[in-house]
């Protein structure tokens, strides 16, 4: 269950995800059509059939992903507590990741061209071992969050007695 204080991503992120999926769909469709034209006279070839099936399956998966975007959006949330930050993801396969604030090494923001159009940023939280991302949040909130996390991590480190 998602906690009550969990925050959703901005609604425009649904359009960003849809654009990303559409670009992937068009690219794979184009590659598929080129390969299909190559095998046009070789339909009896088993390799051609396997490639066709793989392409169709990939395209169907992308289509399913596009249809499920409202559900992914519903379940992709984050919480910033006084001692930790938690990220929740997934609909069929539910995942949660919790990073104690005093383990955070640095907080990075990334903005690609599509995120830039919608004034969104991707927030990457890095520990000594691995990195976690909040997929897209608006620029103002990203900067606020980054400062908040760095400040909280610094305070948590001061409390930490490890050398």
């Amino acid at each position: 269950m998602l906690p009550d204080n969990a925050q959703k991503l901005p609604k425009s992120v649904k359009i960003v995800w849809l654009i990303h999926t559409s670009i992937a769909f068009v690219l794979i469709l184009a590659v598929g059509l080129v390969i299909n034209s190559f095998f046009l006279n070789h339909w009896q070839n088993i390799l051609a059939t396997i490639i066709q099936v793989i392409f169709v399956l990939v395209l169907l998966c992308l289509l399913a992903y596009a249809l499920l975007i409202p559900y992914y959006y519903r379940f992709h949330q984050y919480v910033i507590n006084p001692h930790s930050v938690s990220i929740y993801k997934g609909f069929f396969w539910r995942q949660s990741q919790t990073i104690p604030l005093n383990r955070i090494q640095n907080v990075d923001t990334v903005q690609g061209p599509i995120l830039n159009i919608f004034k969104l940023q991707k927030l990457s939280i890095v520990t000594a071992a691995n990195a976690f991302t909040i997929n897209a949040i608006d620029e103002k909130t990203a900067l606020q969050l980054r400062d908040q996390l760095i400040q909280a991590a610094r305070q948590a480190r001061e409390v930490d007695t490890d050398d």
Partner: protein, 492 residues
């Protein structure tokens, strides 16, 4: 303002630099010369040129490598064409490792590697340093990593050895005998053998193949047996020489580990830099009730070059006395056997059920792929149906047994400021003792079907070398996982 003059490594370092350059050049040339054989004079000429180039580059690499130590950091300059300056604060050092290959022993110098907690090969290497030079660096590192109260104490008194342990010959033989590395060695010999055969002169290669073709089955079996025995002996000797006279000692909060017959190795590290203590028991060691212990460190070493990330602190010890033996070296830890499984009701059933259907899926893919191949390219394997049935039974049997073992071994327990996790993978039992502040993150995952049953999988991440080690416990009770989650994030 006067310019600081850096120290150079002892001149014997040139030998190692020359060897490194020569080895990197000679192999491609060696195979090239043999493959496309020219005249003997031409071949000798190439070798002489390579030797001269290696000498020149080796000398220049040594000449342009200088280092300076201050109270707080070590900085070095290196590079012939592209200059690189590295500044390394002593505070950031994780381990200092010195190796003494056999050809360095007459000169009493060591090859030194200094690892930091940084990533992407953020480490510095000295080709050769004398013992006083190394001890100077180690003292500066120790002073810098010791808290002010400890400094006053250690300045007034000589540091004493708080605990020490040296492996005996019997235990070392047991360790080498119970290591399954021999199988890997056999594989490695086979790989080298096949590569060498490929690069052998064509006439020699043809003669060897012709000889092999003339032999009968008994000879083949004999050859394979000799191969395996040779691999096993080689592996035994390799491990024996690597861990020869293994000794660990603790001085204050610092550990020193020495080992090696031909190449002598010494590792220095601070206890607080340990990310987790790891007990490992392969199936063979479980049968003879032995365990090996290593520590996970936050270092810049990755295993792309086959380097071992873990630092062994006890190659082999009796399971019943492992805690007592390790305790003096890591006094903050309590090496208790975890007893709390936290597994949900019917966890074993859920796991076996999932693995069974996964196996069926994999087996179906194998069967379908085989029959499609058979029908399309008319490929036929003798006794294909019995072989496929045996493979399927082996796959299902092995994975179900390994999963059953995994669920039976799975334990998790909080002990004061430490988390103890016990897992098993392919019948090898792993027990991790992790200080709370070293756990980097915690994650949970579950399918929709497990939500109403209040069951979840738990993933704990700790730093291991240059990357992360993810420990996964499956089908745990959700309320208990929540408790562990809040224990980890709770700031002291």
């Amino acid at each position: 303002m006067t310019k600081e003059i850096g120290h150079r490594q002892p001149k014997v370092a040139i030998i190692r630099e020359v060897l490194n350059v020569f080895v990197s050049l000679i192999w491609p040339a060696f195979f090239g010369i043999l493959r496309f054989s020219g005249s003997r004079v031409f071949q000798l000429g190439i070798v002489v040129i390579l030797l001269l180039v290696s000498l020149a580059f080796g000398f220049l690499k040594w000449y342009f490598f200088t280092y300076i130590t201050t109270e707080h950091e070590i900085s070095l300059k290196r590079g012939i064409f592209a200059k690189k300056h590295v500044h390394l604060p002593f505070e950031r050092i994780q381990t200092i490792t010195r190796n003494q290959p056999i050809y360095f022993q007459p000169f009493d110098v060591f090859h030194v590697t200094i690892e930091t907690s940084g990533k992407s090969q953020d480490k510095i290497e000295f080709s050769a340093l004398t013992l006083p030079q190394i001890e100077h660096i180690e003292n500066l590192r120790r002073r810098s990593q010791t808290k002010s109260a400890e400094v006053i104490k250690t300045l007034s008194e000589q540091p004493a050895i708080a605990a020490s342990y040296q492996i005996n010959d019997r235990d070392l033989c047991l360790f080498a005998l119970t290591s399954l590395g021999s199988l890997g060695t056999v594989g490695a010999i086979f790989l080298i053998f096949s590569q060498v055969q490929e690069f052998l002169p064509a006439t020699l290669s043809r003669q060897f193949t012709a000889w092999l073709n003339q032999q009968n089955v008994t000879i083949f079996i004999g050859l394979v047996m000799i191969f395996i025995i040779f691999g096993f002996l080689l592996s035994f000797f390799k491990l024996y020489s690597q861990y020869f006279q293994f000794k660990i000692s603790r001085i204050g909060q610092h550990l020193a580990i020495t080992r090696g017959l031909f190449t002598k190795q010494n590792v220095q590290l601070r206890v607080s830099r340990v990310q987790a203590v790891h007990f490992q028991q392969s199936l063979l060691r479980r049968l003879v009730k032995l365990v090996s212990v290593d520590v996970l460190l936050a270092s810049s070493v990755n295993n792309t070059k086959g380097e071992v990330k873990q630092t062994s602190i006890m190659p082999v010890v009796r399971m019943s006395s492992a805690g007592e033996v390790i305790q003096p070296f890591l006094p903050q830890y309590h090496f208790i056997n975890p007893t709390n499984s936290m597994n949900a009701n019917r966890a074993l059933w859920y796991r076996l059920n999932m693995i069974f259907w996964l196996d069926i899926f994999i087996a179906s893919l194998i069967w379908i792929t085989y029959y499609i191949t058979k029908w399309t390219i008319h490929f036929h394997l003798t006794y294909d149906l019995p072989l496929l049935i045996i493979c399927t039974i082996l796959l299902i049997g092995y994975s179900l047994l390994a999963s059953w073992w995994q669920m039976m071994d799975q334990r998790i327990q909080v002990d004061g400021q430490y988390l103890i996790v016990q897992l098993s993978s392919n019948f090898t039992k792993h027990t991790y003792y992790m200080p709370r502040e070293k756990i980097q993150s915690i994650a949970t995952s579950r399918s929709m079907l497990l939500i109403n049953k209040h069951i979840t999988h738990l993933h704990i991440t700790v730093r291991d070398g240059d990357s992360a080690r993810r420990l996964t416990l499956r089908y745990l009770q959700e309320p208990l996982v929540k408790k562990i989650n809040s224990w980890i994030v709770d700031v002291k």
